[in-house]
Symmetry: C2
Subunit: 398 residues, 2 copies
Amino acid sequence: MDINELLATRTSHIKASAIRELLKIATNPGMISLGGGLPSPESFPLDLIMDLTDKVIKKYGSKALQYDLTEGFIPLRKALIDYCKTFGVDAELDNVYITSGSQGFLDSLGKLLISPGDYVAVEGPTYLAALQAFNAYEAKYVQMQTDDEGLIPESLEEVLNNYKVKFVYTVPTFQNPSGKTIKLKRREQIAEIVKRHDVLLIEDDPYSALRYSGDQLPTIKSMAPENVVYVSTFSKIFAPGLRLGFFVAPESFGRWMVIVKQGVDLNTCTFTQAIASEYLIGGHLPNQMAKTISLYKPKLETMYTALKEYFPADFKCVKPDGGMFLWIEGPKGLDMEVVSKIAITKMVGFVPGKFFYPNPLDGIETARLNFSCVTHEQIKFAMKTIAEACSEVTSKKS
Amino acid sequence: MDINELLATRTSHIKASAIRELLKIATNPGMISLGGGLPSPESFPLDLIMDLTDKVIKKYGSKALQYDLTEGFIPLRKALIDYCKTFGVDAELDNVYITSGSQGFLDSLGKLLISPGDYVAVEGPTYLAALQAFNAYEAKYVQMQTDDEGLIPESLEEVLNNYKVKFVYTVPTFQNPSGKTIKLKRREQIAEIVKRHDVLLIEDDPYSALRYSGDQLPTIKSMAPENVVYVSTFSKIFAPGLRLGFFVAPESFGRWMVIVKQGVDLNTCTFTQAIASEYLIGGHLPNQMAKTISLYKPKLETMYTALKEYFPADFKCVKPDGGMFLWIEGPKGLDMEVVSKIAITKMVGFVPGKFFYPNPLDGIETARLNFSCVTHEQIKFAMKTIAEACSEVTSKKS
């Protein structure tokens, strides 16, 4: 039996994630990887788990081990209503839904809305796993322009004038991969544009709790609640291995997502939902975030300092106010995939930025560097190694 | 923004699960429900959870809270290799994969193989949530015939001669909904047929550990390992709220499923996978199954006895050797959906059998009755009530 003869036509759009393949290389012994997007294991509240589990068993008993509502575990959804208030998102119970990671949201979103050939408006670069989720439903992409202040509202407007898009997808704060943040004025403009065009915008916000400098910005959701679906995850505020995401949406949207999700996984893991409820209810989040920020913020400083020290002046980089990534842009023509291959031979991994663009010809000279999951010493060594690999490629060319 | 204007074309094939809607009614106070498919909360090893969690934290530490391989948590996959041996399924690590419930398997399977309009061969009746998963990929169904001994091999052969099916889907042991089991001789014939036609058969086996009488039967997988993908779940051997399923497949199939699953949920909940590993490694399964069987077996007896006592002789029922369901077939023309509506007014819920057929005109006079999640007293009352509702409908007609 040859599986290749049985594949659905959509599989021609589905590829193994380049990053997941690179992560496999990164697990080779001795390899220093700036390639992943993993939170630091040190940031996980391992010491809380027994206590939270004990509370879950006493409070919810066998309910925590049973099938549950597709919508999500009600105590968790209620706790999220309060959490969302802290960043200006108003919600009732029927606006808050749990998904199996934010990936679960992206997959169900694609399934619900994307017919083959439908357009989705995305930033370039954008979150790779979102493209991966939408690719399976045979989406086409319209790329919106960005600069140092994130998505350019005029570009969004132009896209909406010229394409019938199913939805607009953006990661407005400390974007993966670029680390960029859409500034306040632009958020207001974007909210106004999506309201005027009456389109759906997906605000994917996994990183905003990881802010190291600058002031918290209001969500686009808070400015256009009827047109925006706000999505986030417990992966960066608790632990990714729980596989919990959530979204806040108009009820009509949520109801449809629930119908789709029934066929995908019936319900998200009840047990870890109950643990996450107790984590929020117990008020552990602020301490945990303070600890995580104290871990990541100095690593960003180390990486940025190493960049200034080791890389030539023609490398561009906007220092992000938070998140887990530094995004660098080499001189025109420098192929970061070639640099990456040299770096791997020197036991350093990172992800060439071109993988994050819907158009495979874009971003050749860019790279995403993760700092959350490596030590200060590893960051310095890796940055020096990548800089040397860049010189090697540049000198070969000239 | 009107969500209905944005829906993908495939949504015309996606409906809310009739059962999930019925389960909502079943949660009304005072309602006795034979409608669900939930394991009894009494069957969950609640007293083990703290101990297993403690072991997980000590043994795996933060690894249990981190992102993990899409393929599944390696200690769990290794433990499953041994578990599979107990029912004659041979596997290496690259044959065993974890999914987010068996529903996660069914969804990824549909995504991988079903192009709109592709045929899938299913039993009539069949597992509703499988239809739901495949519907989203716009499958068409060819119904294979069954009798008291389960799927009729000649019917499978006829279907394969007349249709190009992407795969054959069967629940051979204590099927949900019919409780029927494919007998040994037929398993051998089915294995021979799928090998000869070189087609893919999905053997979905959530219930075989719940055997109350008769001898264990070999899996079809053990008879045609290259053509069969074996699927099962922890929902009936541990707890459904962990949302863990698994499958055993040729590596070429597994590799493709992993690529698809990356876009769906990155990986299944690491934490509950680690707990399930310790559950298997700790040897808790046999005790737990003995306890569960001692709980369910007498309930099946009570239900079957009540059936004989309260229902007229023209009702057909094959007493199953295991599982969680009794399947009854009333006299031709009796509409079990009408009966169900009357029963609900008397505070008893069950699922009319017609929902389990791909053809909506089939199975009008059938019903699925669940006995795992109700008490003996509730079973007796419910059976009496349903029998009375049947008489009511019959007398109105005559």
